[in-house]
Assembly symmetry: D3
């Protein structure tokens, strides 16, 4: 069968070029400049905000590698993001592995340029601190909504006296007016905490936290209906920390927490994002050195494709979220 | 307690010979010629039909190794296949790792001899292409029914211009009259596809595809009731691709796809095969080099025992499938 | 925020001392003598009762290592065991890796001393044989109840002619009057057995066995309601074999069996122990050499914290089990 | 310090762009077309000629990944190949993983185009069969000399009745007039053989075989003096099988053989190639799935740089081989 | 070429049956009874004498697996042991993993039967304690000489109050009159010791200890000339502990010690055994769970072939040791 | 034999307490305060100066774990450091994983306190940046000499615009007057460099660099004679970067470089330090996440014992360096 693609930003054809061949780019897409595309797949190889086990700096490269297994048409929705939109690998943000402060600036500038060109970013981290400069770079006209999948709330005020690390990005983002706490929901939070007052700030500002126990009781459809209501039809950011998923399915991450989402649940959750006004999204905290088998990056790459489809759905008004 | 076995084809007694001792055979059974047994456990160490990540050629040997953990009585049904039937390790089919065409012939001949002796084969692959020459070797009087557990439909027409590979066996088998598409069901299919028309052929010829999403919604009992109705009481082949199971439980396979069967579900599915007229069965795509921990082969070996019990159930009319 | 701890037995503050720093003790607690504490975290690095794959002797050390990720407040119950009780790392029981008989005596004596000082032991094995000398050391005034999570019943009479190994501890404990079979329940038992008469003894003496299939059908709440009724409000021992959990989540164990508890289920089960009169508890059969990734020990360390919280709950009458 | 590069084919500056950032290309060089460069770094991801353990198809990608550690100036000779010549990553040859015959044609054509453009190829395999179509693609005016580092002679006539596999390329190349047996030397050959007549053909046609035992006795300088004399100042091909190196230093290969070159020896050997008229070179048989640590690919990437420097030396007449 | 083998005890032909096919036996040889052969390859899967890290019980099976890579003709001496002698896989000695004392008896009896049938044993351990019951089973007419390659002397009197463990076999064997200390040499001993008096007993009874430092200074030829002089032309046992080899080349062992033999040196040492009157030999302490890559077992399997050739050399008077 | 230790700082007796038992401290020594000991074994779990692959923050803990294999008497010199001196595990320096500048201060203060108490530090890193604050903490009366084993000179001026990272410590230390460049020697330097001017600064200030190629040509004895002459009999610091050793023997490090020291050579080198006036020493850059087998940490632990013996030798005037 011959199919004429609507533009040149097409993945390599796995029936002609084997999946293991050639340099690895995200989803075997061409390299391009952000201004050429609708959605820019980019990496932020920075883990200088990590308090315990590092390695997420290697996330973009290994997810590029494993994403060679990604295919082109979503089997449930029938969506083909590469037909609907121009999507490409726009490379990695510049970072300074020895200077977190400078890195925050470099990353912000990089994303400002992406947005200036009209593309929406779909980012691979890096640790969760990178979400902060991404949000800064987006320069939203009004504070964004947030749907956040994670084992941890990441709304601490500081660690080790430091206010900019992977446990604090969402507190900073609210303080800086980048996110609207009334339109924020965190799903999958779980595990013992260092302090009983752990979630007090988040609750005080109005962030909705759905603990794993509540999620298990209610199921994905019910929780996502609430999430969609919370963010509404205004611009929303999606952040997916791989440690939201169970460590049996995503062991390569710095702060694993048992009892996580199954990948099936994670897929259901992300599919239920379809149709929202997603201004940008990220997938963070994949640490390849902590998983020599590559399973975590494979899981991450597959979730990246799911998120991409969710970002595409709105463009295709004819496609209903399943 | 002393038990007098009904025949010599008994696994080593793990209370007398440690599980780690001696050369590894399937389930610690004796080596035998096919004509001596009712069910022949055999290997087909061939992965020349693999389009991406190879290694399934090493499947039979590592499953022999891990199958030392298999015990003798099914704890749910009470079935003891080694009491009910003569089962043995009948070695590996001859293959030519450098010549797929010759291998297809060698494998077919090997299975023809097994069937000629009156045994039913329970095979360990190898990649999924090996199912084709097995079916040819069975020389069924009429096209067989098929119950097929897998992440992928494997009904492509060709890859890289090649019509005989691990993505095409079931299309070829239907075309050759080995399988009856009206009596075929594929369960667990999932994941993005390369082309929206991916399943058109399968649907056109009448193959029933149960996507993972449908399976999750309906559950094993309901799906298997349908499967049993589809194949009926006539001779049926069972093919179990290990990638049907979730990659957290079976990471060592060439084309992993997240969101798969849990092993609990897989066990329920296979137990519900009991009583069917199973002409033969296989378990394929275990690639040991991709899983140094051995978990995939352990999962495979346990599923092999479950399939063996399902093949035994009909012989023991007094045993109801659970 | 400043919090004045009620006593000196506090974990290191992970906001001041990184989790990767310093020698590893259980949950980053101080080392102490048993008589100083309410609950003694101890190791029993002995696997001389293992019939197949060894390595559980390394369990205590690796669980110490991974338990650096444990935090201090249970996010569901709000319980903080380190506030409610004095808990410390009381080191390892002496063992003789070359002499099981002597080890049984050494371990028993060690636990006798712990109990003499008034502490309750929470033990990390070692293989499951270690439960027997622990129970002997407890010298219960009356036979204890038992809630036992495991893939295997461990009520064999002997293996290889030997009556003291990791397949027999609960039979010996009943025979020795340490456990009351009428107050014993085993949950999660599964997998093929070597002999159809495998569970006859256990059933004959009145031990309640909940197979995995029954557990799946009924769910944690229903099963634990029965378990609580069986043991009642009298002193009860809790034994958690890591192989009760699915091998995808706890691969590093000597006798893995697919189809196990998910960690979510395991957490629910243990949380439902809260309020019982727990005389002691153990977590056994973590074999680190069989899992280089450390996931099994992480799972074990997290379950250890859950058990600790369950042991704490009764002390805090105001806290209801969730 | 500011350095103005003589042309645009420069590796990324590791003092500005971290080594872990961005998509991986060979030595962090730009992607380019062969006709733009003097030396084309290319991959041939084909292992369909492998008789036992496969995986070399993944070699080019993982060597790209590990080659991010390569630097730019040789510390012994002072040679900087990226200053002296235009070197780039020219991608992978097309291959058909399901058809060895077609792959031989595809590869040959690919190399013919490289040579037509005036570049010399430095290739990463793939298994050793790929050397044959490379040599065919070079279309040498006269048979080439060969310096060949390997554990195996690869001059068999056939395996499994097949004449084109990774055990036969040098026999075929001699038969086809691509190599001049009188100007061929194989160094590092070792290990038991399947037949006492194993080397009879090679000796009969005049190929010089230096067994490892002879190499150890004589040392690199003496052996390479002989090698240089054998090939003389005429065009010569260099083939480096990673299994020439000891499996402790390069475990990820299909046919490991203990007692191999140390990497120090391998470096000395390759440095002594400097000044020869090298028409092309390859490094083959790196099988990443067999070495999850990446050490083999790191060793391969470093040797690739050494070979590149040797290929550069002749261009810089002022530089003496060390 | 057609070769008519002198008897049926031939390895599978790797040009016809791929190395990865079929159940694994030592060197792909047939299974046989000891009385049928000249040299019996046997396993002793026992590690109950291990004081620290276990796993050697799995040695025989994994060495069987890796020994599929062994070929049939020694490339230096030209010796083909399978032509010169009848060699087969005679299975594993019976052991009781829960009872070291009984195991010593079982093993001794097994080897007595081997010797009674006229075969010489070449054994794969197991830990080093197994050498003691092997020597007892040999029932030598006069105390044997010993050439012993190891990092450790294994002449302790006891560990943990136990006189029969892997640190004591050679002391016991001398005390029992199985070995003649005046004809014993230990080569490669190294590493810090627990006590300055560590070697006093060995020296007092006349055992020659060649520390690694002396070996490095003198080289294999000189040391082996001394070894051959010490044991003379009378019956001698050869014991090879894999930890004699450097842990980079044999990491999977319970007591690794850096600075060991390279495999090249190990091969030279064993080749220089040729022509001695070798009554039996063993290779011990390979612990596969400690080396998931299989390199240690590959090294072990290759050394096993070298030892086999050394045991064959005397039978072929025409072959000189190289 | 009964031995009365001269003081309480003795390792656990491995003949009474198994090596795998109990919490892991360096060499199984007691925990102590620095002022109680002559030599303080300490960790600095900091890798914030790493430019590429991190993980050295986990070095101290894993080396504690593997150092359980260390014994007490050096087999060549007969030195027993635990008899000659008081040596203990004095814990880890405080660090801030999110703030390199603060960490430098914290580390310096920690070492100042160690020295104030009269102990000499033997440190386990951490990345190589930690040597700088150690030297600052030593507050030497006059600039120290340095014997430095490494693959890299670590005398860069800056990376990514940053002057304090693991590529610059020795330049900073010279600039700050902590080291005397005329009494500095670096041994084992090798590998390609980013710039031809790489070593210009080091040479200009008078640092002696012995490249690996020179070391191979001259051998350990000759090179160390020169080293001893360079530092003379005045206070000298010893710094051992694990990447000086070959990556086959120490793969778990961030910047591996093939062609390194064998462990035998490394042991020879360190033994030849005996008798020097060693003011302190460190072993750095062991990154456990990059080596799941633990071999690197085992190598590191053994080298740590060798360095400890070298530091002890001067105290025991009767012991000659071997």
């Amino acid at each position: 069968m011959t199919r004429t693609p609507p533009h040149r930003f097409q993945p390599l054809d796995s029936g002609a070029v084997p999946r293991f061949a050639g340099p690895a780019t995200f989803m075997r897409l061409p390299l391009a400049e952000p201004h050429e595309v609708d959605i820019a797949l980019v990496g932020v190889p920075f883990d200088g905000g990590t308090t315990n086990r590092t390695g997420a700096r290697h996330g973009p490269r290994e997810i590029r590698n494993q994403s060679s297994l990604v295919r082109r048409v979503h089997h449930v929705t029938g969506l083909s993001p590469f037909d609907a939109l121009r999507v490409a690998d726009c490379g990695d943000a510049p970072v300074n592995p020895l200077d977190a402060t400078e890195s925050l600036t470099l990353i912000e500038t990089f994303f400002r340029q992406i947005c200036a060109g009209g593309a929406r970013p779909l980012t691979v981290g890096g640790d969760h601190l990178v979400t902060l400069p991404i949000l800064r770079g987006l320069r939203p006209a009004a504070p964004l909504g947030l749907i956040h999948f994670d084992a941890h709330s990441d709304t601490y005020d500081s660690f080790f006296g430091n206010r900019y690390n992977h446990g604090t990005p969402f507190r900073r983002a609210v303080e800086e007016g980048l996110l609207d706490p009334a339109r924020m929901i965190q799903i999958g939070i779980r595990g013992a905490v260092s302090d009983a007052a752990n979630y007090d700030w988040a609750r005080a500002v109005g962030i909705r936290i759905v603990f794993m126990e509540e999620f298990v009781a209610r199921g994905p459809a019910d929780v996502m209906a609430e999430a969609r209501a919370i963010v509404g039809d205004r611009p929303t950011y999606v952040s997916f920390d791989i440690d939201g998923i169970d460590p049996s399915m995503a062991p390569g991450t710095g702060t694993p927490e048992i009892g996580g989402f199954t990948t099936r649940e994670a897929q259901m959750l992300v599919r239920l994002l379809g149709g929202l006004d997603i201004a940008g999204a990220d997938l963070v905290e994949v640490s390849p050195p902590l998983d020599p088998t590559g399973l975590t990056a494979l899981t991450g790459a597959t979730m990246l494709f799911e998120i991409l489809c969710a970002m595409t759905a709105r463009e295709r008004a004819d496609v209903e979220p399943s």
